[in-house]
């Protein structure tokens, strides 16, 4: 089995996790910028974080044979401070051409405030101006429905945004259809408690579509599992899905989306290449 982990906050994980992911068949790991669990006091803190994402973390991943890619932004949890957000937005362009940068993310909303919306709009503008892929975080729990609607409205109102170049992450049963129907990609996040379990993720794929969907663990410093994607693949096998279908969902789909960024390349991973022949 091979898979791509398209959303993992590896700066919060140990090297044991890298080893386990590589052993489980991970071919590449992609790390969106996110909230550290505390508010950074200045844009300088983000500068250091972006250096970590573009210099240090790729080297750490490479020790385990894993290509490491990243997305840059100031996350929605810190977007309430618009002035700080503007300062951070100003330094992002100097990192965009670094070799492991995929685009702008994970941007989005947290509590669905006006300031968060303003900062989201600025991020979308930055991505459009630099023709970058976008990774969108949708809010947690009770705020997800409203936040997803607001995000979709904002993205659809910008004629420069091509839906097939945007992935809207953390969808659940009440938001997946509106995302796919609008032409965007949908990410299903596998969390032990919040977001989706493996069984629910497969339910959604079976009920909606496998066409523009990826699975991710979004593992970070909280209660999360860096092996959630391969564990969900195992669950798909229990439910009778073929190896080819599993390969399409956990490897070819993220490869198809991420390959829209010229920086993304995995050795020997041409689209539609043969799935592993082992059982």
């Amino acid at each position: 089995m091979r898979y791509i982990e398209p959303h993992a906050h590896m700066v919060s994980r140990t090297t044991d996790d890298y080893a386990a992911m590589a052993t489980a068949g991970c071919q590449a790991v992609c790390e969106p910028a996110f909230w550290a669990g505390f508010d950074r006091s200045s844009a300088r803190g983000f500068y250091d974080y972006f250096c970590q994402l573009t210099e240090h973390e790729p080297r750490r991943a490479a020790r385990y044979g894993l290509p490491h890619y990243t997305w840059l932004c100031i996350n929605p949890k810190e977007s309430e401070d618009v002035r700080l957000a503007e300062e951070v937005l100003a330094i992002i362009p100097e990192f965009l051409d670094r070799p492991n940068v995929l685009g702008i993310g994970e941007i989005g909303l947290n509590k669905n405030t006006r300031n968060e919306m303003a900062v989201l709009e600025k991020h979308v503008d930055l991505a459009a101006k630099h023709n970058r892929l976008i990774l969108v975080h949708t809010p947690h729990l009770e705020d997800k429905l409203k936040g997803t609607r607001l995000i979709l409205d904002l993205l659809k109102s910008d004629s420069r945004i091509q839906p097939e170049r945007v992935i809207i992450d953390h969808v659940e049963e009440h938001t997946i259809s509106m995302v796919l129907d609008a032409g965007f990609w949908a990410g299903i996040t596998l969390y032990p408690e919040s977001k989706s379990t493996p069984a629910r993720a497969i339910d959604m794929v079976e009920a909606c579509s496998m066409e523009r969907v990826w699975l991710n663990s979004a593992c970070d410093w909280g209660h999360s599992d860096p092996l959630a994607v391969p564990k969900t693949a195992r669950e798909m096998r229990r439910r009778g899905h073929s190896l080819e279908a599993i390969d399409r969902l956990i490897f070819q789909n993220p490869l198809r989306f991420l390959s829209q960024c010229p920086a993304f390349a995995i050795a020997g991973s041409a689209l539609d290449s043969a799935a592993p022949q082992t059982r």
């Binding site: 669905n112 405030t113 809010p139 409203k146 079976e206 073929s242 059982r279």
Partner: protein
């Protein structure tokens, strides 16, 4: 010419289905193996679509173009395949060209075949997944052993096409769901035994529980909607960073 034994054929079919699932190109390859094994020239695999109640052609070999439209979709009870699906047992005709039983449709003669059989693809004994049909250019009566092998092959194929049955899903998930349900019951007992007042979260929880009695296979969606903020305008200021799982606004 039987290149592989009966058990070898079943194993080969099972392995391919496990490897690649029940896509139409896989079914065609399997059909080729079955035709070779039984020395047949014409074969069809129809899958059953429970929504329309029709058998839908998924793979075929040797069906003349002239009758293709007639075999693409077959109602249950019509023709050999339809009757086999209805009776859930094999239906065979020793010679299609001379048969007067009425079970074969007139178009079946156009295949030029004589000895033919249709077997239902059944899982868990009675759940219909489709029909497998094969025919020879000579008059022939399939033996009990041959029919049993075709039924076994139909069962193997049937397990890999269509969604898992309710029984299969219960096998997979019942114990887990049962455990979670008891956890919920214990949680509600725990809250009830404690002192003080319930807040909006428990009220939302009780509302969400009502969604479990809904039909339409969208309970998860409606439970999530029950907990969700239904408003549409951004708020002025964040009350904090975290979410609590239920929208407090319903009671404000």
């Amino acid at each position: 010419m039987r290149a592989v034994s009966e058990s070898g054929l079943i194993r080969r079919v099972t392995d391919l289905l496990l490897q690649r699932g029940g896509d139409n190109d896989v079914l065609l390859r399997i059909l080729d193996w079955i035709l070779a094994h039984f020395h047949c020239a014409v074969g069809t695999i129809h899958t059953f679509d429970p929504r329309s109640g029709l058998l839908v052609l998924a793979a075929q070999r040797g069906v003349p173009d002239a009758i293709m439209d007639k075999v693409r979709q077959i109602p249950i009870g019509k023709g050999m395949a339809g009757v086999a699906a209805e009776r859930k047992e094999p239906v065979q005709v020793c010679n299609l060209q001379t048969d007067r039983s009425g079970v074969a449709k007139p178009g079946a003669k156009s295949t030029g075949m004589e000895g033919s059989v249709a077997v239902p693809m059944l899982v868990e004994k009675n759940v219909l997944r489709g029909v497998l049909g094969v025919a020879k250019p000579v008059a022939y009566e399939f033996t009990r052993e041959e029919l049993d092998l075709l039924l076994k092959l139909g069962n193997v194929i049937g397990q890999h096409i269509g969604k898992p049955t309710r029984s299969a899903l219960l096998d997979l998930y019942f114990m887990d769901a049962r455990s979670k349900l008891i956890d919920i019951a214990a949680f509600m007992d725990r809250v009830e035994r404690a002192e003080g007042e319930e807040d909006f979260r428990m009220h939302a929880f009780r509302e969400a529980l009502k969604q479990l009695e809904r039909g339409g296979a969208e309970r998860a969606k409606h439970v999530l909607l029950t907990f969700s903020d239904p408003t549409t305008e951004p708020i002025a200021e964040a009350p904090g960073k975290s979410a609590c799982g239920a929208w407090p606004g319903r009671e404000q």
